[in-house]
Symmetry: C2
Subunit: 246 residues, 2 copies
DNA sequence: CGCAACATTGAACGGTATCAAGTATGGTGG
DNA sequence: CCACCATACTTGATACCGTTCAATGTTGCG
C-alpha cells in the first residue's frame, strides 16, 4: 500500500503545531501506515493503549455501546485528527473507534513517545492541544444534546463536519462525501433513525442541504448556520493556538 | 483570608502527577489565592486566558447560555480540579465558570507557565492529563444526554459527583454538601426543573438517595449505581495515570 | 436475480416540556 | 419577633417532540 508519507507529515506538523525537527523525531518511530476497510475497527474498547494513532485519510468514529444494544457516537474524526490523544494518559481505550470510510492511519508506539517527551516539551503541548480541541468539540455536542431540537442538532453536526473537512482542505467545492447512514447520524445525535429521516427532509425542504448517496451538498450555508446557531470559533482554535515552545 | 497553601500544594501534586520539585517551580509563580462567593464568576465567557486556574476548595460549574436564555452546564468542578486546562491552548475561554459554593482558587499566570514548559515537560503532561480527564467525563455526559432516561441521567450525575468528591477525600461518611438547585441540575442534565423534581422523588421513593437542604445522602449505593449504569473506571484514570517524565 | 441494508412513510404511544398554581423555606427590615 | 418577600420546591393538567412499531419502497452488491 503505497502512501505519500511526506505529504502526511507536513499535514501533521501544521495540525500539531510542531516545528520540522520535532515532527521528524516524532515520526521517526512510527510504524508503517495501516490501511483499513470501512467499518473496520481501529481501536477496541478496553484495549490497552500502546501507541498514538493518527488518522491520515478517511473518517472514523468513536462509539459507546450501551447494555441494551443502543449506541452513542461520541466522536467523529477526519483526516489529520489524532484518534486517541485523549486515551493515552489513561491506560485503556474507553470506547472503540472504527472507520467510517476506507482509511489510513499511522501508529507511533508509546515507547517512542515516552523517550521523546522528556526532551521535546512541544510534543506534549501538541498532544495537549489535540486533547483540548476534542474537548471543545465535545462541549458543543453536550450543548445540543442537552438543549436543542432535532433540527438544530442535525444542522449543527453537518456544519461542524463540513467545517472541519474544510479546515483539513478536503472539501472540493460545494459537495463532499458524507459516509454516515441515517442510523449512524441518529447514534451521533441521540435520535431515532426515523426521526433523523424526517429531520433531514425538513432541512432539504427548506433548501438548506442536499444529501443522497453518501454525498452532502450545503445549498444555503448562511441559512444552515442560522438554524444550527453554528459559531465556528470553537474549531478555529485548531489553527490559531500555537502556545508553548514555539 | 488565611489559607493553608502547603496542604493545597500536596493535593495539587498528587492530582497532577508532578514530583515535588516540579510542583514547587509551578507554584512559585502563583498569584495569592483568591476567594469567591457563591455564584461569583471565576472566568468570564470570551475572556482572554491569562492564567491557569486551579480550584482549591469548593465547587464550580461551567455554563453555556443559549440565545433564548436557556442554559447548559457543561462541566462541574470539585476541589483539586483545574478550571481551564482545556481553554489554555485556545486564546479565549469558551464559556463562563462560576462558583457553586464559596470557593478558593489559585492563579498561575501563563507567562510563568510559558517559561516553565520548555524545561519541564512533566508539567505539560500533567496539563494534558487534566484535559484528558475532563474529556473522559464529557464523553460520559454525552452518552447519557444522548441515550439515557431522566432517571438514569440524574442517578449517573449524582454517582459521578459523589465519586469525585470521594477521590478528593472530601466526603465525610454518608452525606455531603450538594449545592446544586433543581434548576441547576436540570441545566446540567438537559431537563426541565419540574422533571428534575419528579425524577428526584422517584429516586427517593426507591430508597436510593436522600436530598434536601443542599445535602445529599446516598442510601443505597449499589442500587444507585445500577440505575445509573455507573462504571467509575473513567474517573479512576485520574489516580492511575502517571505517564511521561516520571 | 435476489437478498440485505438503507431510506421513507404512517399511526399510535410515551417521556418530557410547558403552563399554572400552590407550598415550604430562608433572609430582611421594621 | 413578626410580616414580608424572594427563592426554591412541589403538584396537577395538558401539549408536544421524538420514539416505537410496522409496512413499503429503494439501492447496491454478490
Amino acid at each position: 500500500m503505497s502512501y505519500d508519507l511526506a505529504a502526511n507529515f507536513t499535514k501533521l506538523s501544521s495540525r500539531m503545531a510542531l516545528n520540522p525537527a520535532e515532527e521528524k523525531s516524532l515520526l521517526a518511530g512510527a510504524m508503517p501506515p495501516r490501511s483499513a476497510q470501512k467499518d473496520e475497527c481501529l481501536i477496541e474498547q478496553d484495549e490497552e493503549t500502546s501507541s498514538l494513532i493518527v488518522l491520515c485519510s478517511g473518517m472514523a468514529r468513536a462509539v459507546r455501546t450501551l447494555s441494551d444494544g443502543r449506541q452513542q457516537i461520541v466522536a467523529v474524526f477526519v483526516a489529520g485528527d489524532t484518534l486517541n490523544a485523549t486515551d493515552i494518559p489513561f491506560l485503556h481505550a474507553r470506547n472503540s473507534i472504527s472507520a467510517l470510510t476506507s482509511a489510513i492511519c499511522l501508529s507511533i508506539p508509546l515507547r517512542h513517545l515516552d523517550n521523546l517527551l522528556p526532551d521535546h516539551p512541544a510534543i506534549a503541548c501538541a498532544l495537549w492541544l489535540e486533547t483540548a480541541a476534542r474537548s471543545a468539540i465535545q462541549q458543543e455536542w453536550m450543548v445540543w444534546l442537552g438543549r436543542r431540537t432535532a433540527q438544530a442538532r442535525l444542522a449543527h453536526f453537518l456544519c461542524e463536519v463540513s467545517y472541519r473537512l474544510q479546515l483539513s482542505g478536503l472539501t472540493s467545492g460545494d459537495g463532499f462525501e458524507f459516509p454516515l447512514t441515517q442510523r449512524e447520524l441518529g447514534d451521533a445525535l441521540g435520535l431515532s433513525p426515523v426521526h433523523v429521516n424526517r429531520t433531514l427532509q425538513l432541512l432539504r425542504s427548506q433548501g438548506l442541504i442536499e444529501l443522497s448517496h453518501q454525498r452532502l451538498t450545503i445549498r444555503d450555508k448562511k441559512g444552515l448556520y442560522e438554524v444550527a446557531e453554528f459559531d465556528p470559533r470553537y474549531l478555529d482554535g485548531l489553527r490559531l493556538a500555537k502556545r508553548g515552545a514555539t
